[in-house]
Subunit: 263 residues, 2 copies
Amino acid sequence: MLRGMKTAPRTHTGPVHAFHESPEKLLERSGAPGPKDHCRSCTVRSLTICGALSPEDQARVASLVSHVILGARHEIFHEGEPADFVYTITSGHVAISRSLSDGRRQITGFLGPGDFLGLAVESEHHNSAETLTQAHICRYPRKPFRQLMHAIPALEQKLLSITADELNLAQDQILLLGRKTALERLASFLLLLRQRAAASGMPVDPLRLPMTRSEVADYLGLTIETVSRSFGKLRKLGVISLENAETIRVSKPEQLSLLSGAG
Amino acid sequence: MLRGMKTAPRTHTGPVHAFHESPEKLLERSGAPGPKDHCRSCTVRSLTICGALSPEDQARVASLVSHVILGARHEIFHEGEPADFVYTITSGHVAISRSLSDGRRQITGFLGPGDFLGLAVESEHHNSAETLTQAHICRYPRKPFRQLMHAIPALEQKLLSITADELNLAQDQILLLGRKTALERLASFLLLLRQRAAASGMPVDPLRLPMTRSEVADYLGLTIETVSRSFGKLRKLGVISLENAETIRVSKPEQLSLLSGAG
DNA sequence: CGACCCCTTGAGGCTTCTCAAAATCCGTGG
DNA sequence: CCACGGATTTTGAGAAGCCTCAAGGGGTCG
C-alpha cells in the first residue's frame, strides 16, 4: 500500500562517539588496513582550497578537527539531532536521507570524497547521514566554523556556490521523482553516476555502484523489485551489461541519454 | 503513458521587454487598477532589510531597479536563458518549474510577496518562472548585485540562509514526491500553504489558493484528475470544505496533519 | 444565452507495488 | 576445494494506485 516500506535499512548503532578516540584505535576497531595519518589534515585542506586560509587559521582549524574511519552502514548523524558539527568526506560514500514517521525513507543525495556534509543547516539536522561503504570522515565544530566563514569572504562565497549546486541537484531530483518513469529514473541515475565518476577521476567504463539496490530504490522513489526489473530492461535493450550487481558497463551512453527523458 | 503530459500550460508570450517601459504604461496595458508608485523602491527595501545598505548604496540600487506589473500566466524567464537579473516579488504569486523535452512539467516551488527569484543561479537559468496571478515584480541586474553582495557581508549571509531554506524545502518536496501517496501529498501541500499564509499575515481560515488544479498537479507530481479526487476525499472525510475550487476551509487541521504522513 | 475554461466524476487500462519464491553472490568453515 | 548459510538480487503472479480518456457540471465573459 505504501511505497518503500520494506526498504528501511537496519543501520548499526551510530558510533559518533568514535570521533573522540584516537585514529589508531579506530583503525583497529573497524579493521581497516589504512594509512594512519593520511587524512590528518583533510578538513584543513578542504577549507584551504575553498577559502585560502592563513597559516594561523590553518593551525586553528587543524587543532579542532576530529577524524574517523567508519565501516559501511554506520550512521553519522540523525534527523532531529542538534547540528554541532560540519563534516568532510575524504574517502568512501555517504547517503543523505529523510524519513516519514512510519519508516518510509527517501534518500535525497549521495556524497563522495571531497564533499561537505551538514553545511546548509541551522541548529538541527533535517536529514540523516549514513555511510554506504567504509568511509574516512573529518568533522569540525560548527561555531568556530561559522566564525571562520564570516571572517573569510572567499569561504562564504564558496559555501554559497556549493549550496546553490546542491539546490540545483535537488531540483533535478524533484523533476525525476515527479515526472519520470522507472526506466527514465534509472537511466538518469546511471548518467549522473557516470558524470560524477568522470569528474572525480574514477573509472567510468566499468562503473561501480557504491550502493545497494535498496539504496538506489530509496533514491529513485521506487522499490528494489522495480529497480531490478529496470536494470533488466536496460540489459535486454543492450544499453548496459552487468558484470555483477554493482559493476556496470554502459555500452551505449547515447541510448541511455535518450532513455533518460532529459532534454 | 507518461504522467503530466496534458498539464502543460499555454503561457502568453512573455512580456519581459515590458521591464523597459514606464510603470504607468504597464499599468495601463495590463489593466491594473494599481498604486502607481507603490513599489518604486521594493528591491531597495528588500536589500536594505537583508543587508543594511548605506544611503549611497540605496541610491545606487534604486537607479538600477526596473519594475513591472505582469498579468496572470506571463513568463518572467525561461529555462536556458541567460540569467542577467535577479528579481523580487512585491505582490502576486509565481511558479518556478523545470520541464522535460517532451513537455512534461514539474513545478519546483511557488513564490509570493517578499520572495527573491533567480538568486542561486550562475550564468544561465535552470528553471522557468511564470506568474500565477497578476504580480508586481522588480528586477535588478545581476552583475552589480554580485558586487553589492560581496561588498556587504550581511547580504551575503542572508543570501546563504535563503538558499539553505530553499534547499530544505526542496528536500521536503523530494520526500513528498518519492514516498507519499496522492492524499498525503495534497494534505502536506495544504498544510504548507496554511503555514505560509500565517507567516505572511494572510488569512488562514478561508485559505485561498492562487494556483489552478493543473499547477497543483504539476507541483505534486500528479494529474489534475487525481488532485481533484484527492480534494474530494478530504471533503468526504470532513477534513476540509470547499467554498469554491480555490477557497478552502480546513475544518480539522490536526486530521490534515495526520493524513499528511509527516512525522 | 452560448462559448469557453476549469473543475469534477466515471470507467477502464497500465505502471508500479506487494507478496512470494527462486537464483546468485560471498564469506566461512569443514 | 567444495559445501553451507545468510544476504542480496532477480523473477513471477496478482493487486492497487494512479493515469488516460471521456463526459458532465458550474462559473465567467462577451
